[in-house]
């Protein structure tokens, strides 16, 4: 019963991942991340992704402030923020965010403010989408770990299996 549940959760996770890959939200770098997770750091992926969301939220806020500031156009600062966002996004495999960042950077380099703002809107949207989906993903994973945890380390059950 519990095994089945665990199985179902894994299937859910895979389906979700497949969707995100299909949509281009994630790329293979995310798989790399998953491969880096081992017994020495069992929550590596979620840890990194959480760091990423915290960081990029700050960056997005800064970007929004920079771009909304009508008095001065801090082109270089925008560039620096974007660069960091591109770096971290690509590092966790957030492919679509990365692409939007590149577009935003291009727009800012062309001094295309309107394009920048539009790209920023898209960026925020993408950010929210990824955040929701990944939260969902980790939520399922947590459930799975829980389910697995109940099944294996519990001595009672082991006694039942091997009387």
């Amino acid at each position: 019963m519990l095994g089945l549940e665990s199985y179902r959760l894994v299937a859910d996770m895979n389906r979700l991942l497949a969707l995100l890959f299909h949509q281009g939200v994630l790329d293979e770098q995310f798989l790399q991340l998953q491969q880096l997770q081992d017994e020495s750091s069992p929550n590596f992926v979620s840890e990194v992704v959480n760091i990423y969301f915290n960081e990029s939220e700050k960056l997005l806020r800064n970007l929004r402030a920079l771009l909304m500031d009508r008095e001065q156009w801090e082109y270089t600062k925008v560039g620096v923020h974007l660069n960091q966002l591109i770096g971290s996004s690509s590092s966790i495999g957030a492919n679509r965010i990365r692409n939007v960042c590149v577009a935003l950077r291009a727009a800012s380099e062309q001094n295309n403010r309107l394009g920048c703002l539009r790209a920023l809107d898209v960026l925020e949207h993408e950010y929210c989408y990824l955040k929701n989906k990944l939260h969902e993903f980790f939520h399922i994973e947590q459930q799975r770990v829980l389910a697995a945890g109940i099944r294996y380390p519990n001595p009672m059950q082991q006694h039942q299996h091997h009387p």
């Binding site: 770098q29 790399q32 991340l33 880096l36 081992d38 020495s40 750091s41 590596f44 840890e47 990194v48 992704v49 959480n50 760091i51 990423y52 915290n54 960081e55 620096v80 660069n83 960091q84 591109i86 770096g87 971290s88 690509s90 590092s91 966790i92 495999g93």
Partner: protein, 664 residues
């Protein structure tokens, strides 16, 4: 995560120490490498840390550049390598890189999401030994230990160099050997007498340049002039080569000021030459006549073979600068001292008497032209460098990396292969020459097994760095050019435009050759350089080449005012402003030397080479003093390096081998 943010300093020193407990790990070399990761992006920091851990490196992470710098200063020697992000709020990654390079001299690898050529080039220019583009992959990190090894290696070389000059000399002699072997091979006059003459000259030149670069300040240099050498030879003959010992020779020569050591080192070389000669001359008897007749065609053949050059110069057929370049190439030695060797003075005197007005034009050709040509390419070249992989054997320091490339087009024309270029130019319309070239290429291609290059080269007359230079260096070739005096006239050196025109050809073909199906990066990269497409194929030879280049640059610097153009042009390339001209000639020389260094490159770790470029920049400012030390040291480094690399190759391309190939 919270801890990471709270502790920008060190998040995983504990890991490091826990790893350190397993001391046996250190034996399995790359494992246990101590890496400091600096990145303001915590996600990346964490990922890289994890990746490094997976490679069993000891990762220490740091989110602030300033903190990282402090850490590095506090714990000198506790890290092997620094991985740094480029954009950081408190300090630019490049600044950190620079400081680390200056203070700790650690290999630094830059990481950035910005993979644009300009950014990567900036990294290289600032002395990064690698530039990783985010996302960083585990495979990339697995390999970073090589930078540590490379660095260590070069440091050892440096020490070696400073400690044993004689060793250095010997190694360099090895380089010469190869050069000599191939030139003999191509020259092929097959007349023992001529051979002997040349050997003598060569010998003398060697002696003359022996201590120039490294020890000019240490002991008085002995100039093995023709007379002195003849005295030496007669003394040896009198004693018999087997029984000749330095002391007896010294007694017989009876020259005041000459020391036993001087004689000893000269004798050693002389013996080597004899040995090599015997191998070569046996083969040469069987050479076809067509290759033997050239010497006689030279109406201006001087009493000694070497004076071919002078004769040519005297007749205005070789511009003096070329001559000097040639000569330097032949010798493959930097002078390093202001005092010119006698030979050079002679040469120059002759040359300048005959072709005074041409000097400037030629300098323009040698130095100016490549620079003008290249700027568009530089960035590409540089970016390629960063991605280019480095092989393990001698090609470990292949001429393809940065220096020769950067140099190849800009510094280079100056440095690395300009002699060849000019030579190529000189020979451009000479049918006979072309044949010879083909022959040589054939030759070479057999040796190096790189067929693609043959297809292009013979027709286009690109002078592949190696053979061409030899051809020219060689007596026969030169006489050949005499016989084609008509065409040669173009290259009298006065007409800038005419002289320069063939050059684009050259580079063009270099590229063409690159496209011609070469799958080796080294090749391609060199193809870019236009000047030296063939050089990477023969490691030893190319090293040789570079050696020569260096020598040439250094040699020519004191001699020609015009050579000062070099630093200026270079600095333009580096987007540096300021006038250089008011600098003393001493500074000029330093720069030139560095230039040579950059150009030569082969064995320098990348950041060294880059450092050189950097120090150009800093020449303007106060930092020059700081660099001054380096300036002095580094040329030695590569020499030794090169010597070491080329020495084993000597066996590979021993005269006999080449000869046999040739005669077949």
């Amino acid at each position: 995560m919270a801890t990471l943010q709270k502790l920008p300093y060190v998040s995983s020193c504990s890991t490091a120490s826990s790893y350190g407990v397993h001391s046996d790990k250190i034996d399995m070399f790359p494992a246990g490498l101590r890496v400091l990761v600096v990145d303001d992006d915590f996600a990346c920091l964490r990922i890289v840390e994890q990746m490094l851990r997976r490679c069993s490196y000891l990762a220490t992470t740091c989110s602030h550049a300033t903190a990282a710098l402090n850490l590095l200063r506090e714990k000198k020697g506790c890290f092997d390598l620094v991985l740094s992000d480029v954009h950081m709020p408190d300090m630019d990654g490049f600044k950190l890189l620079e400081l680390v390079g200056l203070e700790m001299d650690l290999p630094v690898i830059m990481m950035s999401a910005d993979g644009r050529t300009s950014a990567v080039m900036r990294g290289i220019r600032h002395g990064a030994c690698d530039y990783l583009i985010k996302p960083i992959r585990e495979e990339e990190l697995k390999n970073i230990w090589q930078h540590v090894v490379r660095k260590k290696w070069n440091e050892t070389k440096e020490q070696e160099n400073s400690s044993s000059l004689d060793e250095n000399d010997r190694h360099r002699r090895g380089t010469d050997d190869v050069e000599y072997a191939s030139s003999v091979n191509e020259g092929s006059e097959g007349i023992l007498k001529a051979q002997k003459k040349r050997r003598d000259i060569k010998e003398e030149d060697d002696g003359e340049f022996d201590n120039d670069d490294s020890s000019a300040s240490k002991k008085p240099r002995v100039v093995w002039s023709v007379e002195l050498h003849q005295q030496f030879v007669s003394a040896v003959n009198q004693l018999g080569i087997d029984k000749a010992v330095p002391k007896r020779i010294l007694e017989l020569m009876n020259v005041p000021g000459l020391t036993r050591e001087n004689v000893a080192s000269h004798l050693q070389k002389f013996r080597l030459y004899l040995k090599r000669l015997s191998g070569v001359s046996q083969q040469q008897v069987g050479l076809p006549n067509s290759f033997c007749g050239h010497v006689e065609q030279n109406p201006k053949l001087g009493p000694l073979e070497r004076f071919d050059f002078q004769a040519l110069a005297a007749s205005g057929q070789i511009p003096p600068l070329t001559l000097a370049a040639l000569h330097a190439e032949l010798l493959g030695r930097p002078t390093g001292s202001v005092v010119l060797p006698e030979i050079h003075q002679q040469l120059l005197l002759q040359g300048s008497r005959q072709g005074q007005e041409s000097v400037h034009c030629d300098a323009g050709v040698t130095y100016g032209q490549p620079v003008r040509k290249c700027p568009s390419d530089i960035s590409k070249q540089f970016s390629q460098i960063s991605s280019e992989d480095v092989n393990s054997n001698f090609q470990t320091w292949p001429p393809n990396s940065l220096g020769s490339i950067g140099s190849s087009s800009n510094l280079t024309g100056v440095a690395a292969q300009n002699g060849n270029l000019l030579m190529g130019v000189m020979h451009n319309q000479q049918q006979m020459q072309r044949q010879m070239l083909q022959q040589q290429q054939h030759n070479q291609s057999i040796v190096q097994e790189s067929t693609p290059s043959i297809n292009v080269q013979p027709s286009c007359l690109v002078v592949p760095s190696r053979p061409a230079s030899f051809q020219v260096v060689n007596g026969p070739s030169i006489s050949q050019s005499c016989s084609f005096g008509g065409t040669e006239a173009i290259f009298n050196g006065t007409d800038y435009g005419l002289v320069t025109t063939p050059r684009p050809n050259n580079s063009l073909y270099g590229v063409g050759q690159m496209l011609g199906g070469d799958h080796r990066t080294t090749k391609i990269l060199n193809g870019y350089s236009g000047a030296g497409p063939a050089s990477p194929s023969i490691p030893s030879c190319s090293a040789n080449d570079d050696n020569n280049a260096l020598g040439r640059v250094q040699n020519s610097s004191p001699e020609f005012n015009t050579s000062r153009q070099v630093p200026i042009l270079l600095r333009n390339i580096n987007d540096i402003q300021g006038s250089y001209s008011e600098k003393s000639s001493q500074l000029d020389r330093g720069t030139l030397r560095k230039l040579g260094f950059v150009g030569k490159e082969t064995c320098i770790p990348r950041r060294f080479a880059v450092d050189e470029v950097e120090s150009f920049i800093s020449c303007n400012g106060n930092t020059y003093r700081g660099n001054g030390k380096k300036v002095k040291q580094e040329p030695n480094v590569d020499f030794i390096e090169m010597a070491n690399t080329s020495n084993p190759m000597m066996h590979h391309f021993s005269p006999n081998d080449l000869m046999s190939v040739f005669s077949e």
